[in-house]
């Protein structure tokens, strides 16, 4: 027999041993250093609390047990995380733009740590945010999950922008503002209230069982958050998000006429797609409209998305009110614009054309090819160009759309090969951009303070 406190003391020692064991695994030193230090701090804090708690204070002991349990989960992920199983340059680039909005605006709060791992499943993308760590902790740890089978498929990784929306929703400092935007988004629609949502589900997707009022309220909150996260993903990652969303979620959509016992946890794909295209139009993301110049490169890409939404709308899948979607989009854009690098950067179509040409030659769409056409001295004196990873993704999707319609790519083998090659080229371009970031960052440090110590630009 153990007393609860003794058991926790033994478990604490086990968890600490587990943390030390993680150093045996080959997770990148630069990726694990901060994670290890943060976990050590948390263990120290838990131990101090445990020592100060008597075995009769059962409620405090339970809190400590939960903290320890959470920490044990986080530490175990390190053992299951291998850089070879996911695109870590993409993860780093995403974490860089997401970190500010996920930081609580408190005096002692540090930027959150993003920890990456791969799991099974074909669309198991997730970010598991910490709502609240142990109270001494001022640094949250977010676990970012990639599907193992899609290791280099960075074009599809754009869907992770949606998950950043969930992570932001777990940030107390902006929760109130986000909730207000959510209210705008669903206002006036059949899903504006939990009861309205159930009635709509009953009539449109054959839901038969309401369950308890708590369940319906919870599903209503979930639907609202999902609609908001879609907008968030679109604003963060741009049109690539829309393509990744359609590609990944449409095959998983519930076929029409399939009766569902309870209200599903996510709104139907069709309604979300219509809302997204509405928002993309509001954001001016369909660049080729009425254009005959360089923007026409995106014509096939734009048309595919617009047509898809039109067909769904014609089939009666509209759910949210158009003007409210547009209003919520503007409000969310204004909020996200307050954070550095968070919003999809304005596009320069000359750049996209150059990236497209690089892809056409099977070259990673990045810096070197852009240098072409310059005079030698200009080129030699230049600082390498930084290209936002979201522009690389956009160029990849546009290239895919244009190539996909060629007869040769109607065959499954060549289609798969083409998509895989474009993804790998884009993934490599993001890696090369990371090297440019290191180069510029450490070069400027050297010139400013003469320091030889190298820093990480992430």
């Amino acid at each position: 027999m153990f007393s609860p406190k003794d058991y926790l003391l033994v478990e604490w020692a086990n968890v600490r041993r587990n943390l030390q064991e993680t150093l045996r695994f080959r997770y990148s030193e630069s990726h694990i250093r901060d994670f290890y230090a943060e976990c050590e701090e948390r263990l120290d804090y838990i131990k101090k609390n445990l020592d100060a708690t008597s075995t009769k204070e059962t409620s405090d002991l339970r809190e400590i047990a939960l903290s320890l349990d959470n920490l044990a989960h986080l530490i175990a992920r390190v053992e299951r995380s291998h850089l070879e199983e996911f695109s870590w340059p993409f993860g780093d680039a995403l974490a860089h733009v997401a970190k500010h909005i996920c930081t609580e605006q408190l005096a002692l709060q540090r930027e959150p740590l993003f920890f990456f791992a791969a799991e099974g499943g074909i669309n198991s993308y997730a970010i598991r945010p910490e709502k609240q760590g142990p109270s001494a902790v001022d640094q949250k740890i977010f676990s970012v999950i990639f599907p193992r089978s899609l290791k280099d498929h960075v074009l599809l990784h754009a869907i992770l922008a949606h998950e950043v929306g969930h992570a932001a929703y777990a940030t107390d400092s902006i929760l109130h503002d986000l909730q207000r935007i959510c209210e705008t988004l669903i206002a006036g629609s059949p899903v504006a209230t939990p009861n309205g949502m159930f009635a709509w589900c009953k009539n449109n997707i054959g839901v038969v069982n309401k369950g308890s009022s708590g369940v319906v309220a919870e599903r209503h909150a979930s639907w609202t958050e999902e609609f908001y996260c879609d907008l968030f993903g679109l604003i963060l990652c741009g049109p690539s998000y829309l393509c990744a969303f359609q590609s990944m979620l449409e095959p998983m959509a519930l076929p029409k006429g399939t009766a569902s016992q309870f209200v599903p946890s996510h709104p139907p794909f069709e309604c979300r797609m219509i809302a997204l295209v509405e928002a993309a139009t509001e954001l001016g993301f369909f660049y080729s409209r009425d254009r005959k110049d360089k923007e026409s490169l995106a014509r096939t890409f734009d048309a595919a998305l617009i047509d898809k939404a039109s067909n769904l709308r014609a089939a009666g899948h509209s759910l949210l009110i158009s003007r409210n979607v547009r209003k919520a989009t503007r409000e969310l854009m204004a909020l996200m614009g307050r954070f550095d690098d968070l919003v999809f950067p304005p596009l320069d179509f000359e750049l996209i054309q150059k990236l497209d040409r690089a892809l056409e030659r099977n070259i990673p769409p990045t810096e070197g090819i852009v240098a072409g056409g310059k005079r030698i001295r200009q080129w030699e004196d230049r600082v390498p160009d930084r290209i936002d990873f979201r522009h690389i993704l956009y160029a990849g999707w546009v290239h895919w759309s244009n190539k996909r319609k060629l007869p040769i790519y109607k065959e499954v083998d060549s289609m798969e090969k083409l998509f895989s090659t474009i993804n790998r080229l884009c993934s490599h371009a993001i890696l090369q951009q990371q090297s440019i970031g290191w180069w510029i960052h450490n070069l400027s440090r050297k010139s400013h303070d003469g320091s030889v110590e190298k820093g990480n630009p992430r």
Binding site: S28, N362, I376, W379, E380, S435, W439
Partner: protein
């Protein structure tokens, strides 16, 4: 065959016929007749712990578990992000990618060697120094530490160099033909082992005719492959 000078290399790059990207510091990275190549972030180590030897016959078992295992089990893949390090122990061999993507026109071939300052530390780029015209991909460097002390490598460091030779009798206006992905090693993104049996199959007896080495080939012989 003529070797391209610094000026000729720059001209080919600016004409976009030759692609070596990214070149972070053209002034220092382009020498009198070569471009320095940086270490990339992918590496492959020979996994010695569960292989008794390399046998070309294993590569011939092209389908199913034994063949795949024979080819893949040999190399252990590693990612080494910028800021991390890789220790190459004395006498060991490792395959690493270059950071740079290289794309050659049909009239140029590449020759890759170690940088002399690294060679003096014992770091040798073992073999396969030629890169064919029309090659398109990262360059795999076969690094061997010939010294008696370990060498630490950091991704992003300039460890190799590539010189270019002009092929006589090839028109500069000629384009690379065919699907680039069909050429051996083309469109490489990370270090891979090659196929040592390709086109030499008639000389290699099937594995089922011999005693199978430990661990790998028994299944192959059972299947009669």
């Amino acid at each position: 065959m003529t070797v391209l000078s610094r000026k000729a290399i720059r001209d080919e790059i600016l004409r976009q016929k030759l692609v070596v990207t990214p070149i972070l510091d053209p002034k220092k990275q382009i020498g009198n007749m070569s471009i320095d190549l940086r270490m990339g972030t992918s590496a492959a180590l020979i996994r010695g712990s569960d292989l008794s030897h390399v046998d070309p016959a294993l590569y011939m078992a092209r389908d199913g578990f034994p063949g795949e295992k024979g080819r893949r089990r040999k190399l252990e893949r590693m990612s080494v992000p910028f800021g991390d390090r890789l220790t190459l122990h004395a006498g060991s061999l490792i395959l690493v990618s270059t950071l740079e993507w290289v794309s050659l026109p049909p009239y140029l071939k590449g020759v890759v060697t170690a940088r002399s300052s690294w060679a003096r530390e014992g770091l040798n780029i073992a073999t396969a120094t030629f890169i064919d015209p029309c090659y398109n991909g990262i360059v795999t460097l076969e690094l061997a530490n010939l010294s008696q002390v370990p060498v630490v490598l950091y991704p992003g460091m300039r460890i190799a160099q590539i010189a270019f030779m002009h092929l006589e009798g090839v028109d500069r206006k000629q384009e690379c033909l065919g699907n680039v992905g069909d050429r051996k090693f083309n469109l490489s993104f990370e270090p891979n082992s090659g196929d040592i049996t390709k086109d030499d199959e008639p000389f290699i007896p099937p594995i089922s005719d011999r005693a199978a080495p430990v661990g790998l080939e028994r299944r192959a012989s059972r299947k009669g492959k």
